[in-house]
């Protein structure tokens, strides 16, 4: 009892201190804060509009097939932990959304860093497979001491992802092969390769599931199937932000993406920027694979790869809605995580196939591709 009261007081104190410091910060840097907010207003509105458009199209599709769009969207909100009918917020459900958001964040980073360097890197899907297989191998088949094992799994998975990302990067640099073609072909090659590895080299005690991760290799579980990897993912997002905006190689990378001619004229090596963006992307996607392969209930992945699939492609939408910004990706990934989590509620409550969510994501991506969508509408209205 006393502990509870104590913790509540501590919480209130923390909120108070945080609020006070925020207030002081805003007061002292009023001009900067206002101009920053003005700067992010347009991208925010555009992303929100794209999401709105996606939901409208989703509602239209539901109408065409005689479902109630209202019921569908009420159960979609359950994916975010919001139960409108019961008037409650269920943190337990929100945790599942966060569990989806963890790999999305990382695969979105893969795409976003590529976009910042002017590349359309859609190879995250294959790199997730490879990273997942590497993680499952180290976690399930190699015995290591307790402290080191988790780190070894993480590092090896990231390196494996980066290694797979190196192939399209080198093909792009040496032969000028467009990364869309090479990445997609490598995704499919990775798909069959990892399936082979899962069946012939990584079997566990359960049929069709790779060997369980040894207890020393498991990430600490927070709740549900959310593991502590989410903190690593957030850290990676922040590190990539620091790299892109506060370090010289990151600046070069962005310059190559914004204006390759100016970059070449300034003596910046374009191939190095391409290589760097692919490697960072591969590291992030490999970590996403590890987070998917080593999570509760199975602690491995199914040998049809259903546990690893689609995360790479959803990452494209996450990155676009997050405006290819490592920090913007975080809320965007949580939104997409909730969307993905809502699929099973829609299936259970209303009988809508959860694949509708993928369709909505597609529409959101299409809407994000139109740069002046809002400007266009405004001009029409005038």
């Amino acid at each position: 009892m006393i502990e509870q009261i104590f913790s509540q007081i501590a919480f209130a104190l923390a909120v108070f201190v945080f609020g006070l410091s925020l207030l002081v910060f805003v007061k002292n840097y009023q001009k900067e804060v206002v101009s920053y907010l003005r700067g992010i207003r347009r991208p925010l509105v555009e992303s929100a509009f794209a999401i709105f458009l996606g939901l409208i199209v989703g509602a239209l599709i539901l109408k065409v097939f005689d479902y109630s769009a209202k019921e569908g969207y009420i159960s979609m909100l359950k994916g975010f932990g919001i139960f409108i009918r019961q008037r409650t917020f269920e943190p337990k459900e929100f945790v599942y959304a966060l569990a989806f958001a963890t790999p999305y964040m990382l695969t979105a980073l893969t795409f976003a860093v590529g976009m910042r360097a002017g590349l359309f890197n859609i190879g995250a899907e294959g790199q997730v497979y490879i990273g997942g297989a590497a993680a499952a191998w180290i976690a399930g088949h190699v015995a290591l001491p307790a402290g080191i094992h988790v780190f070894a799994v993480t590092i090896i998975a990231m390196l494996a992802g980066a290694l797979w990302a190196l192939l399209p990067a080198l093909l792009k640099i040496w032969r000028g092969v467009h990364e869309v073609i090479s990445a997609i072909m490598l995704n499919w090659i990775a798909f069959h390769l990892v399936m082979y590895l899962a069946i012939y080299h990584l079997p566990g005690k359960w049929a069709h599931i790779t060997a369980e991760a040894l207890p020393t290799a498991r990430y600490p579980v927070i709740s549900g199937n959310l593991t502590a990897v989410i903190f690593i993912a957030l850290l990676v997002c922040i590190l990539v932000y620091v790299f892109l905006w506060r370090m010289y190689p990151g600046y070069e990378l962005r310059l190559v993406g914004d204006n390759p001619d100016a970059a070449r004229y300034a003596g910046i090596s374009i191939s190095r920027a391409i290589l760097l963006s692919f490697i960072i992307g591969g590291l992030a996607a490999g970590l996403a694979g590890a987070s998917l392969a080593i999570r509760p209930e199975k602690w491995g992945f199914h040998d049809t790869l259903t546990d690893l699939m689609t995360y790479g492609f959803v990452g494209i939408g996450v990155a676009l809605v997050g405006r290819n910004h490592p920090i913007g990706i975080i809320p965007s990934a949580i939104f997409f995580g909730g969307l993905a989590n809502s699929g099973r509620f829609m299936e259970f409550d209303v009988g809508i196939s959860s694949e509708l969510v993928t369709g909505i994501q597609g529409v959101i991506i299409m809407a994000m591709a139109l740069p002046g969508l809002l400007a266009l509408l405004r001009r029409k209205a005038e």
């Binding site: 073609i181 090479s182 069946i199 993928t358 909505i360």
Partner: protein, 331 residues
Amino acid sequence: MPKARIYLQRRVLVFTVCLVAIVVFLYLLGWVGIKAKDVLRSSLFVMTPLALAAVGECINEKAGVVNIGLEGIFCLSCVIGVYGGVHLGSGVAGLLVGSLMGASIGFIFGIASVYGRANQVVFGMGINIFGDGMLLFLLITIWHATSYNIRPEFMIPYTSTPLGLLSPIIFVTIAIAILLHVILHRTFLGIKIKAAGEKPEAVDVAGQSVGRIRMLTCTLGGALTGLGGAFFSLGWLGTVVKEIAGGRGYIALACVVFAGLEPLLALAGAFIFGFAESLAFTVMSMPAAHTYPFFEYFLKMVPYIIPLVVVVIFIGRRPFPKASGKPYIRE
């Protein structure tokens, strides 16, 4: 001689060598116990959707629009085409419905990229993801199952040829490729299309609408891809499943690069990829393959490795139009 001409000649030479090599290879296959006729027949089937999509995309890219949403159009037109075919009671109607579906997506893509000045690669990827999701959504919503087998009476009937039973759509595809080649290189419309990709300002100055030309090619490319998508189910496999396209939309893109935007070369490229794929599947079904079951997974990679290797080797100097992938903005 202009450089583009030399590259084209070199490309034609490469394709001829490839095709001759395939013929020799087919002759040698007889010794291993594979019937050359069967491989050739199935590679023609694999070729058809690839070629339809690739030929349409060639025209598209000639006009300066890059649509990477071929995979999504395949998925959507496949399921819609089958739905239309089953409801209207004939396979041909299904093919038309499928190509109509493809044309409408191409039209939307055209509007977005020409008038909305969209990022074409991102928009195309959006189409792919939308198609991927909607294929399974429609399957489950319409037929309440993750796969649907078409009754034989709704399939496009095969015609018998010296090679065995072939779908008439195969010949339609070859005719379309030849027709588009003629249109592109022998008519005024072809000149307009090429100019819209190479120098849109010139088209504008000449009093022609760049937007209208690009809309036309987008819709045409979409319609051809949609026809290919409907062919998967109605003319070839007789079923709709989630993995029906299996990345073939992207292989068609590789085919376009391989062919350097020439419709006839795209047809040949699609045949070469089709041959590689059907050969891999023939080997997979051989009795000897069952002694090494793990080998199956490596054979399944072949359809993806071959396009990759081919693109790496033959990409050459890019023969792509200068305004490719950029929206035209009048100054």
